[in-house]
């Protein structure tokens, strides 16, 4: 089968989970015997996007140099449609497209389309986070477009007024997201897709009425490529390491919750350390260590050093790649009971879940785990096994993407 992948924000090496997800999906389907080709622009004026070198990719790609300031949705379609038509794919797989996605779907509607929605881009036009007033937003662009349009303008007020327009805002205004026409186009584009792929059950529930087929497909990690050091074989340290990995400076990731739990624990015990990736050390406590921004390789070293991995996000993480990475490294994961995280971690088996934002509950769980190293080791082994069986890319392609392709083309 010939599968065309379209992604407006593709970069390799990846700058985020969405890019890594696309790369492994394309590569996985290529290895499964399908003919694949990536259609992704390279922007000449965007530092935020590292872009990609076609020669560095293991699969063929069709790059076109674009200038974000001058690129409109129509301009993108004018490039994309002839390029895809010339290749004659059997299926089009749409990746990250942010605000231009409905236009691209419209332009390629003569093919069976599978559309992958990252973040909550299909529900929240503001920033794709679906997070408002310190909780998951109950509105969504499909059902309450007028509320969401107002929320978007109010939220981006300062940026819209700025003399230097950031790329996200250019994308927003170029695609005419705030016009009533865009909402109609958006809803129609969901109906035109043969299938939509989302990250978790909540995201699925909210678009079930709009798209013929909606599948929850998790992201994955290359579990087999990761060196595994079981917790019980790890050299003993004076202090146990509780690790929080990822973009810890983002308040939505909940580093403050972990620090509050740590300061509670530190009142009566000193046998632990909290390590976080990132440069910021706002707490200046002896039990808190900022390890600096880490590349993929160094992060693996940190996981090996860790005894417990914590993912204290306060927003509904669509997936929670860090939790899966922790599991793949064979460490028990303590995560917020929210978004995709609650679907990844099995309490008592591969880790524990706590109420988002509840540092007291997190402290209790950490205390119990610090006191029971045997239990932690057992959970770590089980976590590694779960990651290998359910979140390895090979498994994800085989169990989710291949049946979906068959369904879409039959």
């Amino acid at each position: 089968m010939r599968i065309a992948f379209v992604d407006l924000w593709f970069s390799w090496p990846p700058i985020g989970g969405a890019q890594a997800n696309m790369f492994h999906t394309i590569e996985g389907l290529r290895q499964a015997g399908h003919e694949v080709r990536l259609f992704a622009p390279v922007y000449d004026d965007l530092w935020h996007h590292a872009g990609y070198e076609p020669e560095a990719l293991p699969f063929p790609s069709e790059p076109v140099t674009m200038n974000w300031a001058r690129t409109t949705a129509r301009g993108l379609c004018q490039w994309l449609r002839p390029a895809v038509d010339a290749w004659r794919p059997d299926v089009v797989f749409m990746g990250f497209g942010r605000y231009c996605k409905p236009y691209l779907i419209e332009a390629l509607a003569h093919y069976p389309i599978i559309s992958r929605y990252f973040l909550y881009e299909h529900l929240c036009i503001r920033d794709g986070c679906l997070y408002k007033d310190y909780e998951t937003c109950l509105n969504d662009f499909l059902r309450t477009p007028n509320v969401c349009r107002k929320c978007t303008v109010d939220f981006w007020e300062d940026w819209l007024k700025q003399s230097d327009t950031p790329p996200d805002i250019r994308d927003l205004t170029n695609a005419g997201v705030l016009t009533p026409r865009y909402h109609r186009l958006f809803v129609e584009s969901l109906g035109k897709c043969r299938a939509a792929v989302v990250n978790n059950a909540m995201a699925k529930e909210r678009i079930d009425d709009y798209c013929p087929v909606v599948r929850v497909i998790p992201s994955g990690v290359k579990v087999k490529e990761r060196e595994y050091l079981p917790l019980r074989d790890k050299p003993a340290r004076e202090r146990k390491v509780i690790l929080m990995s990822g973009r810890t400076t983002d308040p939505l990731k909940g580093m403050q919750v972990l620090a509050d739990a740590g300061s509670g624990l530190a009142r009566y015990r000193s046998d632990f350390e909290i390590w976080v990736t990132g440069d910021d050390d706002p707490f200046q406590e002896p039990w808190f260590k900022a390890c600096g921004w880490q590349g993929q390789g160094e992060t693996m070293d940190l996981y090996r050093e860790a005894d417990i991995v914590v993912v204290p996000s306060v927003w509904a993480e669509p997936f929670g790649r860090v939790a899966v990475e922790g599991m793949a490294a064979g460490r028990p994961v303590v995560a917020s009971r929210i978004g995709g995280l609650q679907e990844i971690v099995r309490p008592g088996e591969t880790g524990e879940l706590f109420e988002a934002n509840s540092s007291a509950e997190l402290a209790l769980i950490l205390e119990r785990m610090l006191d029971n190293p045997e239990e932690c080791a057992r959970m770590g082994d089980r976590a590694r096994e779960t990651a290998a069986n359910e979140y390895d890319w090979e498994h994800i392609v085989e169990a989710y993407y291949l049946p979906l392709l068959e369904q879409v083309t039959s």
């Binding site: 000449d44 004026d45 965007l46 530092w47 935020h48 408002k132 007033d133 937003c137 109950l138 509105n139 059902r143 309450t144 477009p145 007028n146 509320v147 349009r149 107002k150 929320c151 978007t152 303008v153 109010d154 939220f155 007020e157 300062d158 819209l160 007024k161 700025q162 003399s163 230097d164 327009t165 205004t173 705030l178 016009t179 009533p180 909402h183 109609r184 440069d279």
Partner: protein, 171 residues
Amino acid sequence: MSGALRICAFRSQGWGYATRLHHLRRRYPDARLVVMIPKGETVSEQEAAYADEVLEQPHETYSIRKPGKLWDLARTLREARLDLFVVMYPSPRLRLVAGLSGARRAECWSYQNLIIALPTRLLPAMAVLGWRIVQGQLRFWRCWLTTRLRRVPMPGEVDKMEARGLRMPRR
């Protein structure tokens, strides 16, 4: 006073400051590199490796609407007696700051990531900035009016947050 070129690298919002310092050091190996950071921020280890001198900006941010802050910055920069002033982007605001710096010339990284000369004459810089601010205001008000006057026809739509008596905080 030594004869080495005094270069000030002005740190503003955005990524890649350390990478830019690296480029700068390679381009001017013998120059004295003054790293200028916003008030209250620190220099990372990587940045410190390239810096001969660290200077703190008098304020965190600058805007043409707050001339007092700009004046403080201009004074600090002029006291540093710079030969070359380097900013991270060719934005109108940074162009104005470069104009105020009193340096003999200014450079920046273009959108294609190349080091280019930055015009430092004050009046054109202020005119460009003023026009861009007007454009930004027009952009915002156009969007604001679009969302208020042109509604998507959705009978029975209720703002669930409003119904629960919650309001969105302004950011």
